[in-house]
Symmetry: C2
Subunit: 391 residues, 2 copies
């Protein structure tokens, strides 16, 4: 009997989009309600409060239709002061993207970009950030990626926030693969603007970006007395609507409803528990990959996802086999200015709706495929190592 | 026995968001697939071909995450030439919005805006467009709203395209409440860029904007040799990805899947049939409202939706009663620079997943509420008038 391969159970262990729980999917299928109604405003208001808890802020958390990139671009444009310097930290593809974004506005806003570029796989050294802040006291913004998805590396955002707090610069943090996976406490740490996306640890489909704004960021928005070169992404509009439990443009109603359900699941479980379980999956995975003799891509691995180099004689086709034979989806490598990892590495996500069983299944399948490719010996190493640490 | 009012069948006759068919809702609830897969590329490629048919173009039709405003802003910024004039036609709130968008970019792109503002409820006179084109031969863009939702008025886009075709200016058309409701044939009419949104006649939830690009628009994008002051909305990125059945940023996967199902429903029924049925609902509604003694808000009504003034002694609370007692959702009036219609008018949509029965139910309920308010006599007029024309 032929069974079509797409009928295999599919385990989406890619670092976004990630799997979405059935009850969140069901919420997407509810009949459409109008957004200018009490019913929608109540949902939106509940969601906003849940998001405040998840981002760890008393400030507004805006829900903007689009990708994580849309939301981060909004923060970058609205919070930079014209004719100022912006300090942009890049330790991977996404940090580089935020540099590209500021390039686009450099002329229109007379911005001077102070780039800190770190080798892929390394976190940004704090001393470099301190030095840049010292040399550029007029800098209006610092951007940094908390968990750099392309290199599976975590940056020490808490310490960076300690530095920026002593300066006039606002800290904008890309928490797209950290919020809901790693401890990231906006107000306690002193992050001025924390951006995340729906399709990672939030257990939602892609389509919403979330922007948390601290007091200093709100004050900066209030101070704007020039023509911001954006319309849809003018955060002042979103903040004004937010105060009325509303949005300035027609929102993706099903996603907003689903977001409330997903956030509720996260908060029911408890943020601490979610972070701890993510860490267990990550620690177990790192131990298992090392036991198989693989080399991790990061010197400071993020717990959101793990990346490793392929061993000699193995290439990206192994991901194809994992998908076809085992229904297991891993991500490959990405390319950028600071690295060229396509075909050389793979990445496995620990975020969101994934559990120890999924992770073990992926590692077991990976080990068996590596063995079949002759890249590792016959002894089973992955699971014992995983269970020692992550079980 | 108490029955909660939200358990009434709800008829969403608002001009966006509109009702979504059950099988489109079901598609939203399918497990998430990764967007960098053959499976997704096939869906995306099918959708793109369907959209080409619906917009009537051989050119690419981009699917951009966000609202209709997001997509229109992208077209405005990417197609205007710096240091040129842009002719912006406004005959209602949405036309005014596109003027506001260009205001934001006026400084950054050194644009001079040539505004044509028409009284609300009127279409733009062709002579004014011809004159503006004649007086501003260096204009790079003309923007116009096909079906102005705030005033339920249709502009003669076909004739405007005849005018712009003879100039160097590109015509960008807001088809957000026209595509899939009214005849709007991009290539045949000579529209350079046609923008629409998911949540109107396309029978989808909000969250996607569609941008069709004709040959001249693609050529204009190719000619860009300056820093466009946008990143996420840089249409060149979207066009380059589109050629590979891909998108530059993580797309709202469930909405893209659902869009394929909804477009398929439209094309199975046939565009001509969809337009004809929309027209019937509109003609019947106009006849019914007139028979009740109500005055329409538009001198050139769009078939996408119908608007009328409340009779003396009636205010917006009637919409509340229609919702609570009958489960019928109509829209109220909007405010803008050229009009102030909040509390003075109501609007009823004929777009998308709505049929003659829904429309008749709404008119019947409206008539009964107007009678109860003492605003009309006891004789039943609405349905006979509707059936004479629209039945």
């Amino acid at each position: 009997m032929h069974q079509p391969q797409t009928d295999l159970p599919q385990r989406l262990l890619t670092p976004g989009p990630t799997a979405v729980p059935p009850r969140v999917l069901e919420e997407l299928a509810q009949p459409i309600i109008h957004h200018r109604t009490k019913q929608f405003r109540e949902i939106f208001s509940d969601l906003s409060q849940q998001l405040q808890q998840i981002l760890g802020t008393q400030g507004p958390v805006l829900s903007i239709a689009g990708s994580g990139t849309t939301a981060f671009e909004a923060a970058q444009v609205c919070l930079a002061r014209p004719t100022s310097q912006v300090i942009t930290i890049a330790s991977g593809k996404f940090g580089e993207r935020w540099q590209d974004v500021y390039d686009r506005y450099a002329e229109a806003m007379a911005l001077e970009q102070v780039r800190i570029n770190v080798p892929w796989g390394e976190p940004v050294p704090l001393a470099q950030v301190a030095q840049a802040l010292c040399e550029h006291p007029r800098a209006s913004v610092v951007t940094v990626v908390h968990s750099e998805t392309s290199t599976a590396t975590v940056n020490d955002v808490r310490s960076i926030a300690d530095l920026t707090r002593r300066s006039d610069a606002l800290l904008i943090v890309d928490g797209i693969t950290s919020v809901g996976a790693l401890a990231c406490e906006m107000d306690v740490w002193g992050i001025d603007c924390l951006v995340t996306g729906s399709q990672k640890a939030m257990m939602l489909p892609p389509g919403l970006g979330f922007v948390g704004l601290g007091k200093q960021a709100l004050y900066r928005l209030d101070q704007i007395d020039y023509a911001l070169p954006v319309y849809n992404l003018d955060l002042r509009k979103w903040v004004a609507s937010y105060q009325k439990a509303d949005v300035p443009f027609t929102p993706p109603v099903p996603l907003v409803r689903a977001a409330k359900v997903a956030c509720n699941m996260i908060l029911e479980q408890g943020l601490d528990a979610v972070w701890q379980q993510t860490r267990r999956r990550a620690e177990g995975t790192r131990a298992a990959l090392r036991a198989m003799g693989l080399r991790l891509i990061s010197s400071h691995p993020s717990d959101s996802l793990t990346g490793a180099y392929y061993p000699d004689g193995v290439d990206d086709s192994i991901r194809h086999r994992l998908r076809k034979k085992h229904g297991i989806h891993l991500a490959g490598g990405q390319d950028g200015r600071g690295g060229c990892w396509k075909g050389k590495i793979f990445r496995i996500s620990h975020m969101g709706y994934v559990d120890i069983e999924d992770t073990r299944a992926a590692l077991l399948a990976l080990e068996s495929e590596l063995r079949e490719a002759g890249a590792i010996g016959s002894q089973t190493r992955a699971l014992p190592a995983f269970d020692d640490v992550g079980g």
